[in-house]
């Protein structure tokens, strides 16, 4: 198992380096001189030349491209993201406070996704064709079609502003404290609407499995329907479901950018956006890399869970 995890981590390296490289070249491809992006845009003209020279030297932009790439790569590998142009804070330090915020939302809503997505999918599949199935699937399709930012605003309007029973935005402390939880409820609901997609997927894999021969065998040997469904069918239906959980976590992380913005949640997504708005490129670079790395790690975790559910998979 340990060897397997180590191997998988090593295999991630090329992907992570690929992501880092892509971000590097994209920022170099930005129209105009990249150095312009590294100094505050509202500087007086007289100071501009000097600041440009200084920034060029500081970021090594006077070096040839391959040297720049090498310096950049070795910095990224040491998690040295430099300083924010706007705030002049150490980005690594900023991220250290913000990553747990995003992960709190991400992990809890992942749990909600699994709870609601999988159970609704199974209930629907078991009741195939009757009103329970069609109602559930109608709502699931509605959930998939819902613009989450709009839903977030409506929730904020109704529960935060009109009824006043939940705080409309902000961070109230860690999610396991009462005040923290109250602040997290609306962002969590907004992020969890996407579970509708998981429900649709679970239903279709469940239906595929129910038509298999071994389910007919299980039924014909007189097993109770509950056991057939939960022990024989669900366990097999979950295998493809688990493989897409990592991707779903990515969807949640991507959605977190919008949700954090709406609810003023101080996570990585909001940090990234503030970097984009103020054209603070080191911040954008660090934010993108962080979220992408979380996603890649989540996919690894999925692969490991996969083995627990499917004993046919061996770790060697």
């Amino acid at each position: 198992m340990k060897v397997y995890v180590a191997k998988r981590l090593l295999a991630l390296l090329p992907t992570v380096i690929g992501v880092i490289t892509l971000v590097f070249f994209m920022l170099r491809l930005a129209p105009g001189d990249p150095v312009q992006l590294l100094i505050p845009p509202d500087l007086p003209r007289a100071m501009e030349e000097e600041a440009l020279e200084e920034a060029r030297a500081r970021y090594g932009l006077d070096q040839p491209l391959y040297t720049q790439y090498y310096i950049y790569l070795s910095k990224m590998m040491r998690l040295d993201f430099g300083r924010s142009i706007r705030q002049n804070t150490l980005i690594t330090e900023d991220l250290r406070h913000r990553i747990p915020m995003t992960l709190q939302l991400g992990i809890v809503s992942m749990v909600l996704w699994i709870l609601f997505g999988v159970s609704v999918g199974v209930i629907s599949a078991v009741n195939r064709g009757n009103w329970i199935d069609s109602t559930a699937m109608f709502f699931a399709l509605a959930g998939v079609s819902m613009p989450s930012f709009w839903l977030g605003l409506l929730l904020m309007l109704v529960f935060g502003l009109h009824l006043g029973i939940l705080p409309p935005s902000g961070y109230g402390g860690p999610i396991w404290t009462w005040e923290g939880l109250r602040h997290a409820i609306l962002p969590l609901i907004t992020l969890s609407v996407g579970a509708a997609g998981l429900a649709r997927y679970t239903r279709s894999t469940m239906l595929d499995v129910i038509n298999e021969d071994y389910i007919r065998t299980a039924r014909s040997k007189g097993l109770r329907e509950r056991i057939v469904i939960y022990k024989h069918a669900l366990r097999n239906a979950l295998i493809p479901v688990v493989t897409i959980l990592g991707m779903n976590f990515g969807y949640i992380l991507g959605g977190a950018v919008i949700v954090e913005m709406i609810f003023a949640w101080p996570g990585v997504g909001r940090y990234l956006l503030s970097g984009i708005y103020s054209r603070d490129y080191p911040v954008v670079q660090a934010g993108v890399l962080m979220i992408a790395t979380c996603f890649v790690l989540a996919n690894l975790a999925t692969d490991l869970v996969y083995g627990v559910i499917d004993p046919r998979i061996r770790y060697d």
Binding site: L22, S145, W150, L154, L157, L161, G254
Partner: protein, 291 residues
């Protein structure tokens, strides 16, 4: 002269069978198509349908609630929300459709090349696709717009690039199974070149998953585009666009919730209709469901 006629008849029969399957399996497919066509028509004929100029401001009517005169009220600059919604349909739909379709085309080209030619080409193309897929959700689109700057065209490009890797994988998977079949070998035996085999023989056989996936990705592209414009990274004000309208209305949500409600509803209904049609197409085209 007889053969082409027969072909034509077969095709017509095929289409009518398909239509019958769509209608019997998904009762909501027809109403959804009607809704969708209506939205497209409204977008096309916006100048004739909209009651007011979407840009004309009337500061006296700032944030006014819906009334008989302005059915959906007025926004923060006193512009008619309904008219902006109608003109906004143009931009929202163009971005969604163009992003998804361009992504489809690029994905198909990459997937076909990768799957059919194989070897090193396949290896490297798929590594690039892997890297592109390591950006979760809309992050890649956000990054592209952050680099290129916001705007309608850049948003379409961003959505297209974001859509490409998924298509490339699907098409490649299909190509890998099709290229081993006899008719491909036959074509190779009679001396067809690679391009002809790829585009005349293999591509037509991957059309149904491509159609289904394109339809569903129009829906996600529309949602993502609206989200990006909402964040201020897409269509820029004062151009009317549904997501951007919500983004501006957000600041007045307490006093004038109608500015946010109606564009959101428009996005929701449009995407829901596209998804219903996509589902119906999938059910009809999926060979596993054919009885």
């Amino acid at each position: 002269m007889e053969k082409p006629q027969q072909d034509g008849r077969h095709r017509r029969e095929g289409i009518s069978l398909l239509m019958r399957r769509i209608v019997t399996r998904n009762r909501l497919a027809i109403p959804s198509t009607i809704v969708l066509v209506a939205i497209v028509l409204i977008a096309v004929f916006a100048p004739w349908v909209a009651p007011y100029d979407p840009y004309s401001q009337d500061i006296m009517k700032r944030l006014e609630s819906p009334s008989n005169e302005h059915l959906m009220g007025n926004d923060d600059l006193g512009r008619d929300v309904l008219s902006r919604l109608i003109f906004g349909a143009r931009n929202s739909l163009i971005v969604g459709f163009a992003g998804a379709i361009l992504g489809t085309i690029m994905g198909v080209v990459i997937g076909l090349t990768s799957g059919y030619i194989g070897g090193r080409m396949d290896h490297w193309l798929m590594r690039i696709v892997d890297v592109m897929m390591s950006f979760p959700g809309m992050l890649l689109a956000i990054l592209i717009v952050a680099v290129m700057g916001p705007g309608l065209v850049n948003l379409i490009v961003a959505l297209a690039i974001w859509n490409t890797p998924g298509f490339a994988r699907i098409v490649r998977g299909n190509v890998l199974s099709i290229k081993e079949q006899e008719f491909v070998e036959a074509s190779r035996a009679v001396g067809s070149n690679r391009l002809r085999i790829m585009y005349r023989h293999i591509l037509p056989n991957t059309v149904s998953p491509i159609i289904v996936h394109t339809t569903l990705s129009v829906a996600t592209a529309l949602l993502t585009a609206a989200g990006m414009s909402f964040l201020g990274l897409g269509v820029q004000p004062p151009t009317p666009e549904w997501g951007a309208m919500i983004g501006v209305g957000r600041h007045h949500i307490r006093d004038a919730p109608h500015i946010v409600t109606f564009p959101g509803l428009a996005i929701f209904v449009t995407v829901l209709a596209i998804n219903f049609v996509g589902d119906a197409l999938r059910d009809a085209l999926d060979p596993r469901l054919t009885e």
